[in-house]
């Protein structure tokens, strides 16, 4: 454990003396645009992956909710597989493993597929717990006023399920954006990649790490704030407290 940490810090050049006399503002202004570009990439791939995760998750949750025979088993296996393997390993498989089977995907495709594979299971669990939280009698009282099955889902079950799911869904969004920090293993110039690159090239460890932290904060803080506002709105307005 200790050895590993030392190796890591060595890799990041934390012991480098040059950077210890205050922060180099010029360096930051010079390389900030690189972080902006990287942040754009992280955001773009993250957004696509999260959107697809939501779709996969919703479909997975519906399969489980309706207890569709064979698909249900497949989804259960997928969820276990996805939740119990690190994204890093999933990306390695996609990027280095698939070509051995003759399937070559671009870095971006690998990143999106990997993130979706990981996120889909988390989103599925979030949607599922929301759907299960709605009392069965709600379904029946919807039916008994003449609504058909899909109307009951749309007007009665989904709104209630969603408001239960929202906290978990928001937590997943933040979790998935953080997970994008391993994208550099498939040769994508994301935030992590840029930071490592700058450290490796110029030994400006403090500046590079500072910008890395700030970049993630700029991305994640607003999402976090929106998430908590959303949760509060759903809790108070939606159900009349």
């Amino acid at each position: 454990m200790e050895n590993k940490r030392e190796a890591d810090s060595h890799f990041l050049c934390l012991k480098n003396k040059k950077g210890s006399n205050g922060v180099d503002i010029d360096f930051i202004t010079q390389y900030a645009p690189m972080y902006v570009e990287a942040a754009k990439l992280t955001l773009r791939l993250g957004a696509i992956g999260i959107l697809l995760s939501l779709i996969v998750g919703l479909l997975g949750a519906l399969v489980q909710y309706y207890k569709i025979p064979v698909l249900r088993r497949i989804i259960a296996v997928y969820i276990e597989l996805s939740r119990n393997t690190p994204l890093l390993v999933q990306l390695f498989l996609l990027y280095f493993g698939l070509p051995k089977m003759g399937i070559v995907w671009t870095s971006e495709t690998c990143a999106i597929v990997g993130l979706t594979f990981l996120g889909g299971s988390y989103m599925a669990e979030a949607f599922r717990s929301g759907l299960e939280s709605v009392d069965k009698i709600q379904f029946e009282s919807g039916l008994s006023i003449g609504l058909n099955h899909s109307q009951v889902m749309r007007y009665i079950i989904f709104p209630q399920a969603l408001s239960t799911s929202v906290p978990a869904l928001c937590a997943n969004v933040i979790f998935l954006i953080k997970e994008t920090s391993v994208f550099s293993v498939v040769a994508l110039a994301d935030l992590m990649y840029v930071a490592k690159d700058l450290i490796g090239l110029y030994y400006k460890t403090e500046e590079a790490l500072l910008m890395l932290v700030v970049a993630y904060l700029i991305i994640l803080l607003p999402i976090s704030i929106i998430a908590s506002l959303l949760e509060r709105r759903l809790r108070y307005a939606g159900f009349g407290n």
């Binding site: 003449g146 007007y155 709104p159 009349g240």
Partner: protein
């Protein structure tokens, strides 16, 4: 007793949940304008009976005719049948994410595609009748149990069903509200609607019923006019059941 055409005919209904039989060979006619009160000990199958009638529970055998049409068929459009059979449950299960008014308007606007203004006006009229007009913008969580039950009744009434099924609706009502609800029900009966009411409140049953149906152990044991049934039940089982309610008076 009104002798008009049959609205609902139940023939040899048989229901089980896999283990034991819940309803055995139950046959019952309900005529237009008739108020039938279903009574019987807890667990005898009253709720199950109502749920079978509007298709919430599949039945194992038997037939149910609504307006002469067999609704126990594969091609039954339950959405259409259920508009004709209003149901109010024991547990006033309003939709918690909607206001009182939206709860009531969901059926008329989404199922019957009625004009929202017209439906709103009727909803407000009905709410006023049950004394809850001032609560129309409240959420269910902000209402008492009794208030919720009255909203649930309005939600079913607004669909203008041909028959209303009530599963112990008075159990959660404040005593002073029972009369109001009863008046609404009677008015509906007068205007041609029909009702089947499950209740444990014998005074209420006596006041509202044209016909009492006594269910015990999943079968209809006795049927009769309220006066006859309560004063001189024909069966031993019915009189034993009624005794559980008259215990205080005997002392």
């Amino acid at each position: 007793m009104k002798e008009t055409e049959k609205l609902l005919e139940i023939r040899h209904l048989h229901k089980d949940y896999g283990e034991g039989t819940i309803l055995e060979d139950v046959s019952l006619d309900i005529h237009k304008g008739e108020v039938v009160v279903l009574i019987g000990p807890s667990g005898c199958g009253k709720s199950t009976f109502l749920r079978c009638i509007n298709g919430l529970e599949p039945i194992q055998s038997g037939e149910i005719f609504l307006d002469g049409e067999n609704i126990i068929a594969n091609k039954t459009k339950w959405s259409e049948v259920r508009q004709k059979i209003g149901m109010v449950f024991q547990s006033y299960d309003l939709f918690p994410h909607m206001t009182v008014l939206d709860n009531i308007l969901l059926g008329p606007t989404k199922v019957q595609r009625r004009d929202k203004k017209e439906a709103t006006a009727e909803a407000e009229k009905l709410l006023e009748r049950v004394g809850l007009l001032d609560r129309k913008d409240a959420y269910p969580r902000q209402l008492s149990g009794g208030q919720k039950q009255r909203v649930a009744i309005v939600r079913a009434l607004i669909m203008k069903p041909e028959i209303m099924l009530f599963d112990e609706v008075t159990a959660a009502l404040d005593p002073e509200m029972v009369r109001e609800v009863l008046d609404v029900m009677l008015e509906l009966a007068k205007s041609g609607s029909t009702m089947m009411i499950v209740t444990h409140e014998m005074q209420f049953a006596r006041a509202v019923a044209d016909k009492i149906v006594f269910l015990d152990g999943g079968e209809i044991v006795e049927t009769g006019a309220p006066e006859d049934f309560f004063n001189s039940p024909k069966t031993e089982r019915a009189s034993r059941f009624l005794h559980t309610f008259t215990f205080d008076q005997v002392k």
